[in-house]
């Protein structure tokens, strides 16, 4: 097992009532990078993220996160990762601070600086306002705050910039880059907005119909496709690069 790999899946397969949603998926994410995860709607991005965070159990194959097996060492992995999967869920009648307090208590970590994190995501003046009154963008910010407050080693973010305003997108982008640079976190981000991934990702992975077909460094894509990630992505989707090996 390679020590620098934070996430490694081998021949990962997941079936839902007989239908293979994830097929023989091999994924490797190195330590300290931002991994952009691309794929069409329904390709299996969220399913992969759920498998990585133990919300789903693999039908076949192996998943290792931080060098630990996802099935047998589930709890120890969960305390080291931060997740934002699908629409974030909160305790609606409680304030942002109380939600984070409960989160820290469940995580078994009491030392999180709630005020600091809230100001980082731009929610410092919400006070005692219950989460039920928050807008979509504010919820997304709070969800990001919750994912990072317990200082995880790996962040799994599914569409983290959904519902954010342009200012918010830039703030979050800077925050993500800072987390990787200063705290040595590894980020796994999926997004529909290709330019966003282009801005921050070091490596990108492309999933088509439940199989990761490409894993390539951003530098290489930029060298091959000076016009940007979009052309690269479209080429894979339409099958023009099918016979070429980019690994």
């Amino acid at each position: 097992m390679n020590n620098t790999l934070i996430v490694e899946t081998k021949n990962l397969t997941k079936t839902f009532t007989g239908k293979e949603v994830i097929k023989c998926c091999n994924m490797s994410v190195e330590k300290g990078i931002i991994y952009g995860f691309l794929g069409a709607n329904g390709a299996g991005k969220t399913t992969i993220f759920k498998l990585l965070s133990g919300l789903l159990k693999p039908t076949m194959g192996k998943v290792q996160v931080l060098g630990m097996d996802i099935v047998s060492e589930h709890s120890s992995i969960l305390s080291e990762i931060g997740t934002l999967i699908e629409t974030p869920i909160f305790y609606e009648h409680l304030s942002a601070t109380e939600n984070l307090k409960i989160h820290l208590a469940y995580m078994g970590k009491e030392d999180g600086d709630i005020a600091d994190i809230l100001s980082k995501v731009g929610l410092n003046d919400t006070g005692v306002q219950p989460v039920s009154t928050f807008s979509l963008g504010m919820r997304q910010r709070l969800a990001i705050a919750r994912a990072i407050i317990h200082k995880p080693k790996l962040l799994v973010l599914d569409e983290p910039i959904n519902g954010l305003d342009p200012m918010g997108i830039r703030e979050m982008r800077d925050l993500f880059i800072k987390l990787v640079k200063t705290q040595g976190m590894t980020l796994l981000i999926s997004s529909h907005i290709l330019t966003e991934i282009e801005h921050i990702a070091d490596t990108i992975g492309v999933i088509v119909n439940g199989t990761i077909v490409r894993e390539v460094s951003m530098a290489k894509v930029k060298a091959e496709y000076p016009s940007g990630l979009e052309d690269y992505f479209m080429d894979i989707m339409t099958g023009r690069k099918e016979n070429e090996d980019t690994y």
Partner: protein
């Protein structure tokens, strides 16, 4: 486990249920007076005999009270268990590094203990008030003595355990479909069934205990079923 229980109390507004229990206690007090007064309405009616004397009044009122608290515990279970494990909500609970078994157990025990405590306290308050007013207005022929109070406490304790068990069974049934209405309807059905059984066995102390123990065992079986279900759950 202690911290988990504290967190459950923090997450859910427990005050709502305390207020509900108080309202139940006040309503129940009204019913108790009504039951005690009923034989006086038509002294010659033989059917009214089921209300006369403490020996009839206590079990009758007890099962009625039990049914009410069964429904309240089913409502609490719906809020604590069914809602937290349906739809996308389990994503939140399952992303904590705490065993799923412990989380569901802490939820079950919070509701179970709350049901028992609130039922016992509410019953003691109701009967104490009734006992005091009996000193001035004589509705039941005999005096309200200390031994009657002990009898009340004993039957209330036993019935509160039955009520808590019925709640667990109801939530177990409701959990299959993750449905709040199923939970509440099954609690009403089981409670009305149990009322008929319990009211007939309260006259003999041993059978009352046997029924209670059987209900508690069934409750434990359903808890194990729930834990297994939660452990195997996947969030699609």
């Amino acid at each position: 486990m202690k911290t988990l229980i504290r967190l459950e109390l923090k997450k859910n507004k427990i005050n709502t249920y305390i207020i509900a229990s108080l309202i139940i206690a006040i309503t129940m007090l009204g019913f108790l007076f009504l039951f005690a007064y009923a034989p006086m309405l038509e002294p010659n009616d033989k059917d009214m005999a089921i209300f006369s004397g403490y020996n009839n009044l206590i079990p009758l009122f007890g099962v009625f009270n039990m049914a009410v608290f069964c429904v309240m515990s089913a409502v609490m279970y719906s809020k604590f268990v069914i809602e937290d494990y349906s739809g996308k909500r389990p994503i939140l609970l399952f992303s904590y590094p705490v065993s799923r078994k412990k989380i569901i157990l802490s939820k079950l025990s919070v509701v179970c203990v709350f049901t028992i405590i609130s039922m016992v306290i509410s019953n003691i308050i109701v009967f104490l008030t009734f006992g005091i007013t009996e000193k001035f207005i004589h509705l039941v022929g005999r005096d309200f003595t200390f031994s009657i109070m002990l009898q009340v406490i004993e039957s209330t304790l036993v019935m509160s355990f039955i009520a808590a068990s019925i709640g667990v069974v109801a939530v177990g049934i409701g959990f299959i479909k993750k449905s709040v209405p199923t939970t509440i309807v099954s609690s009403v059905l089981i409670a009305s069934l149990m009322c008929n059984i319990v009211v007939n066995v309260t006259l003999s102390r041993i059978t009352m205990y046997v029924v209670a123990v059987i209900m508690i065992l069934i409750g434990i079986i359903f808890s194990i079923f729930l834990i297994k279900k939660v452990n195997a759950m996947e969030v699609e």
